[in-house]
């Protein structure tokens, strides 16, 4: 008997107009959001990690505190300086403390100003340089990395090697102007997928100082530890040392000491925020979908009043009519959910494909069959629940009145 109701409901759905199908949009969007969100979960994390420059290298970074715009440390009231670098170098378990400057420079290709970009300095010393390269995933795709003596040479991020409207593709040996000073391109970095590193310009400390004249100020300090297992303790020690040196109390710090775990926490909280937002959208969509189905089924009861009368005249009981409309409403929801699952899965697959392409990862779409099953079941239930009141109205129609239409 249940299969007969499904069969009848399916036939009725097939003959429905566009208006009825549009009411599915709510459930469709809700399911798309949930399926895509979960399917893309791991990919989103990778993408956000890359975009925010969260390194997998276990290092501690120190920056000036407060809200700043532009490169790290820029505009801070009390910047980090080489003195802080010296203090940190003396903290237990600190192997290397490297001061780095990151500044905004005007970049020109073939005498045409293209953009203001972020340029990062490379420190002196092989170990320091290697560590900075490693932390930034800086590997050359073409040409060479900078050597310590290179004063008028730069290494560019991957994005400059890609041809765009404003300029052609930059090649090794090309001349570029940074703040009106000429440099030659020595190397182009591999793609990392991060906007920060793919658009980065690396140059040595001395020419960077020439261009920006930052004196003793540093944008950030990168700390390499002797024992990575003592990361949390080292972070606390650095904080204590800087508090003492800068004479600030706990809670009033004008600097920030971050570890990958802390950065990851920030990223995760951003991701959670995004997820909550999408889940809210999904709930609102489903709620709108429910109202749509109630409306559509209510209209359907009025439009099909005569059909209800006919069914009653040939022996349909009230419960037969109820189940008929109830299952039809459920199927409406199910179709919305099915379309949502298909579209959501497509977004997941193409999204992961895009992330893999952009960030060079090898992620696999997380297509969860349980999720799909519950999304479809949930869609059916939501539709059916939305159909309860219209189905009750249909069932209690007086046969004679209903037959008049």
């Amino acid at each position: 008997m249940i299969s007969d109701y499904f069969n009848l409901a399916f036939k009725n759905l097939k003959h429905r107009g566009v208006r009825s199908w549009l009411t599915l949009l709510g459930i469709f969007i809700g399911v798309v959001a949930v399926v895509a969100l979960i399917g893309l979960g791991a990919g989103l994390k990778t993408a956000i990690n890359s975009q925010f420059g969260v390194s997998t290298t276990e290092l501690i970074t120190v920056q000036a505190g407060g809200v700043t715009f532009g490169p790290p440390g820029s505009g801070a009231a009390n910047p980090i300086t080489t003195n802080d670098l010296r203090i940190i170098s003396n903290v237990n378990n600190v192997d290397l403390a490297i001061g780095r400057n990151i500044g905004t420079l005007k970049i020109e290709f073939r005498n045409e100003a293209v953009a203001f970009i972020s340029a990062g300095s490379l420190p002196s010393g092989k170990e320091e340089r290697d560590f900075v390269h490693e932390a930034n995933q800086a590997e050359v795709m073409d040409g060479f990395l900078l050597e310590e003596g290179d004063t008028n040479k730069v290494v560019l991020g991957y994005s400059y090697s890609v041809k765009n409207k404003e300029r052609g593709a930059v090649e090794i040996g090309d001349k570029i102007l940074l703040n009106d000073k000429t440099f030659r391109v020595k190397g182009i970095l591999r793609k990392t997928g991060s906007f920060i590193t793919d658009y980065m310009v690396l140059l040595n400390e001395a020419p960077m100082e020439d261009l920006l004249d930052y004196g003793d100020d540093l944008s950030l300090i990168v700390v390499k530890m002797k024992d990575k297992d003592l990361m949390d303790k080292t972070k606390l020690d650095i904080e204590n040392a800087l508090r003492r040196y800068r004479d600030v109390k706990v809670g009033d710090e004008d600097f920030v000491v971050s570890t990958p775990a802390a950065s990851l926490k920030t990223v995760n909280s951003i991701l959670t925020g995004i997820q909550i937002f999408i889940v809210i959208i999904a709930f609102v969509s489903v709620f709108i979908g429910v109202i749509g189905i109630v409306n559509t089924m209510g209209t359907s009861v009025v439009e099909r009043k005569k059909e209800i009368g006919i069914m009653k005249s040939i022996g349909a009981r009230n419960e037969n009519i109820f189940w008929q409309f109830f299952i039809e409403a459920g199927l409406l929801g199910f179709v919305g959910g099915l379309l949502g699952v298909i579209f959501g899965t497509a977004i997941t697959v193409f999204g992961i494909f895009g992330i893999n392409y952009q960030f060079g990862t090898e992620l696999v779409p997380d297509i969860n069959l349980f999720l799909i099953f519950f999304a479809l079941l949930g869609s059916f239930c939501v539709g059916a629940i939305a159909g309860i009141i219209p189905a009750m109205n249909a069932a209690k129609q007086n046969p004679v009145d209903a037959l008049r239409g």
């Binding site: 005249s313 022996g315 046969p399 037959l403």
Partner: protein, 277 residues
């Protein structure tokens, strides 16, 4: 469930002093059926005639257990259906009664086969049996070749034949036909009436509402003329007589029409005057 069994010999439908009133407002009470008593024997072909608003359809609805009387009792096959609950009435409609409507009333989204099989679904008959039985009835009305067609692909006459097949689906004892030829031309109407006659000859009781005295004269065993919610006249075929007397039926109809023209003069004729031809 109140099910009063009364054994009545050979009588399948019995209306005992039936009233159906509709209260339109505090002051206005419409007496759609105003004390009708009649009985229908098994296998009879009954025609109910009368002007518009005389209570024909209301009467049919109550006999068909689509509606219940305000007062009085209706017995169908000995069961008092006037006091049954809606779900029991639905059971009776499904099992014991087949409806044929003037406007065919097929479900547009279903094929002819599915339309015919639908009443069986409500009786819990399995899908395969439904199909084979529906095909049998479609064959009976010579539309088995149109099993996959939708109602909008059929002519009026074909639709009514599908409706006839559907009315037979649960092999009911009584067929109620409300103006079955009202939307058909005379030639198609004749075909439909011949099918109804065939069903009657196979033992089914037919109650037909019609405005057409020719149909009543040609096919009916009994004609009830209703006026103002009462049976005004009854004409019954004599044993051995093939058809009703044409003049008598026409006379009834003419009296009815003139009665309708004289609508203000209300004559209380409870039970009506019976004329046997």
């Amino acid at each position: 469930m109140l099910m009063e069994k009364e054994k009545t010999k050979n009588v399948i439908i019995e209306l005992k002093n039936i009233f159906k009133y509709y209260r339109m407002s505090e002051d206005v009470l419409v007496k759609a059926v105003d004390g009708i008593s009649l009985s229908v024997k098994q296998g009879e072909f009954v025609a109910i005639m009368g002007p518009s608003g005389s209570g024909k359809s209301t009467c049919m609805n109550m006999v068909g257990s689509l509606d219940v009387p305000t007062k009085g009792h209706i017995f169908l096959d000995g069961v008092n259906i006037s006091e049954l609950h809606e779900s029991d009435l639905a059971q009776i409609r499904g099992k014991k009664i087949g409806f044929i409507f003037q406007s065919f009333n097929l479900i547009p989204n279903l094929t002819t086969l599915e339309n015919v099989a639908l009443p069986m679904m409500f009786q819990g008959i399995g899908s395969e049996e439904r199909k084979s039985r529906a095909m049998k009835f479609l064959k009976l009305v010579e539309l088995d070749s149109r099993e996959d067609h939708y109602p909008n692909e059929l002519s009026g006459g074909q639709k009514q034949r599908v409706a006839i097949a559907r009315s037979l689906a649960n092999e009911p004892e009584v067929i109620l036909a409300d103006e079955p030829t009202g939307n058909l031309d005379s030639k198609t109407g004749k075909i439909v009436m011949d099918f109804l006659e065939k069903m009657n000859k196979s033992g089914r009781t037919i109650i037909m509402v019609t405005h057409d005295p020719d149909l009543a004269q040609e096919y009916a065993d009994v004609v009830y003329w209703l006026k103002d919610g009462k049976v005004e006249k009854t004409t019954r075929r004599k044993p051995g007589q093939k058809k009703l007397n044409r003049k008598l039926v026409e006379n009834i109809a003419e009296t009815g029409v003139s009665g309708r023209l004289r609508a203000s003069s209300h004559v209380d004729t409870l039970g009506g005057k019976e004329e046997v031809d």
